[in-house]
Assembly symmetry: C2
Homo-oligomer: 427 residues x 2
């Protein structure tokens, strides 16, 4: 029972047994007071221990004291407010009496979740009606096979522009199912460039032109897109690591695909946006789970989808819309990236980013130290300061800061301050 004893106080009576009180402001705690009440053995008195945890969180600008800044390349940091919402709904989703993890994928509750997720994503990217949106499994790696299996015959030529490891993997997987050519590769320059579009020698008979819009490992990002010159005018993009980080004109593409675990959700969900007229011609050897037609006809519910992951993506889409949509999101991402690249470029060579300036990724910022023997120390000291996962990909070494949508400006600012301090101590 509770009574107000004064305008600013609250009396809780008979909190018997051991009791914890969490005092929260709305669902978005700025401060959490935790009171532990333990009864005496005879249950006649209570003792109180009070610990106060500051969870100061001016919107997306500061670091919660119990959180790290997580610069991982994916799975990656998610919006704190959406994690809090997921936490509050985990046990009982909106009065349904069950967790989203327990819901039949054919029940009205989950249908409302997946339909809203699709609708919000369509709003965010302004996806035209003639495109289907699919929530699948298996990562972009599955799409490396599914794309040629659905869009090509075995002997069809296709064109790949290879600007990094992921584009290269996509090309290699396609060799099993069609006749791909690499029409440009950045490998000899260690994947630090995007080609001039004019110079691309596209095959007019290619069924499609494939690019990786942002190379997660190498940090090169297409700022504009080549015009496909093949007969079907088909451009296909792996947008795994810059999906929903900025507006995209979907109508320029035949198909866009993205693993969710960078900008829009946890791992285990792959989003495919495909023009509907392209489906229905899969090769006979296409596993049914790779057949877009099956998934389009069943609204991603041919078999059990990754329900909880889709729910989380839906929360993130809500959050991106609430921020004002992708134009606003892009502004924040430009600002964060600018601060970090400036710190690198203004370090007199102490820090170096190998990527050509005009195509540097807003999402993944690779850099090295001039004194490479200090890199391990850099990563270790940063971790002590609660900035984690800064080690570069094992294939390229150095450092990499992934600063996806959900990385707060404060995270980048803290990293830059740390970089300057580290330089001052080691220059």
């Amino acid at each position: 029972m509770a009574t107000a004893t004064s305008p600013n106080s609250l009396l809780l009576q008979n909190p018997n047994r051991s009791t914890t009180i969490h005092l929260r402001k709305n669902s978005n705690p700025a401060r959490v007071n935790v009171f532990n009440l333990s009864p005496s053995r005879r249950n006649k008195s209570i003792s109180i221990t009070c610990s106060t945890t500051q969870v100061e969180r001016p919107p997306s600008n500061a670091q919660s004291l119990d959180r790290v800044f997580n610069f991982a390349a994916g799975p990656a940091t998610l919006p704190e407010n959406m994690l809090k919402k997921a936490e509050s709904e985990l046990y009982n989703w909106r009065g349904s009496g069950m967790s989203v993890m327990e819901m039949s994928h054919r029940g009205k509750e989950f249908l409302s979740i997946i339909q809203k997720a699709e609708s919000d994503l369509r709003a965010l990217l302004n996806i035209p009606e003639e495109y289907a949106v699919l929530f699948l499994q298996g990562g972009a790696t599955s799409q490396f096979a599914a794309i040629p299996l659905n869009l090509c015959k075995r002997d069809d030529p296709v064109d790949y522009v290879v600007t990094g490891s992921w584009g290269d993997k996509a090309f290699k997987e396609a060799q099993k199912f069609c006749k791909p050519s690499v029409i440009w590769s950045g490998k000899s320059e260690k994947y630090t460039k995007i080609p001039s579009f004019d110079g691309l020698e596209q095959n007019p008979d290619a069924k499609y032109l494939h690019i990786c819009a942002n190379e997660t490992i190498h940090g090169v990002e297409f700022k504009d897109y080549p015009t496909p010159k093949n007969n079907d005018r088909l451009l296909i993009a792996d947008m795994s690591s810059n999906f929903c980080s900025k507006p995209v004109d979907v109508s320029k593409f035949g198909l866009i695909y993205a693993g969710a675990q960078k900008n829009v959700g946890p791992s285990g969900v792959t989003i495919v946006i495909v023009r509907k007229d392209l489906i229905g011609n899969a090769q006979e050897i296409t596993p049914i789970m790779f057949d877009y037609k099956i998934h389009v006809e069943n609204n991603s519910l041919y078999n059990t989808p990754p329900c909880y992951g889709i729910y989380m993506c839906g929360l993130v889409f809500e959050d991106l819309l609430a921020q004002g949509g992708l134009k606003e999101v892009e502004k924040k991402n430009i600002k964060k990236a600018q601060i970090l690249y400036d710190a690198i470029d203004e370090s007199n060579g102490f820090y170096r980013c190998p990527v050509e300036k005009s195509v540097r990724s807003l999402m993944n910022v690779p850099f090295t130290l001039e004194k490479s023997d200090l890199e391990a120390e850099f990563v270790k000291e940063a971790a002590k300061e609660k900035m984690v996962q800064l080690k570069g990909h094992r294939s390229v070494g150095g450092m990499r800061a992934s600063i996806y949508n959900a990385m707060p400006l404060a995270g980048v600012e803290k990293l830059v301050a740390f970089m300057k301090d580290f330089q001052a101590r080691h220059a």
Copy 2:
């Protein structure tokens, strides 16, 4: 600030702005008092609304007042204690400063999670060392293709025993990748039987013999397993809907696979247990994501796995071990099923289960009403009593109660009491 004003009371001062207090006993609430405090516009007084939610939960035997009994066939009910644990860890996993959903799959935190999940599963099923355990994506439906792609050449014969819709789907998908034969089908008897093993005409040249150990839709379950008579002595089982519901001698099988979303976790995780000597011979047209060799060599981390789902499976494995392992779990499942089948069989035909008694599933209990026009009313009234998802699969109609590991005995008892009451009112 908090002060104790009497042995049984607590004074909270200055709860300014809108504030919610959750009063919990330990982390496992038996009663949650929620107080909403709203300040006046001038911030000089507060108003209090108090709602009390009973969350009585004697271990696995009762229904929390805010929970439903969820008889869905999958995704399905999960253990309440593990949902509570997941809730408590969602925002910040064990002091790591991040959610499991945000962790790099190559970081030490997630590695500890997936390694413990595998280790606990190995303990539960006593999996021999010569078997690999994989945590994959794409559901059992992906395995329908992956199995022939990995274990057969294009012209190899294989044998399928088809005891329900899922076995039939597995057979049909295999037609793309090898030469499967249906050596027994229960279709003409509406999938209500399991064949006598002696009468099975196995092809000695078949690369494997495939069964579906429990047919989710039709409710027929293998109580023992046929001895494969093919040259390689290979038996393969889809155990999606009875995985970890009872002990299994893994050494009898070449490969066992299961979608997690029935007994061991949320959707989006597929577990494959495969004898290591069988891998490494995939057909050339195998998508890399379907190649067991790749996943075994990379400990399920070739690409980003469904991390959060694997974490949840790990929690469930912990819970199953804590219950005493699968022998104890099986005892509970037998008891639950017995109560429900008895209620059907003792209803003088008011309720009917079409499945042959000796092979009735412990997991999925399909039944019809003699007066079939009452079935919609049955489902509707049950839902009012917080027992949901009792409608049978759209392909067979009637009702189906899925009573997986995490369905408490109390859920089945409540359903049986409801069935008797419903019969009394409508007989």
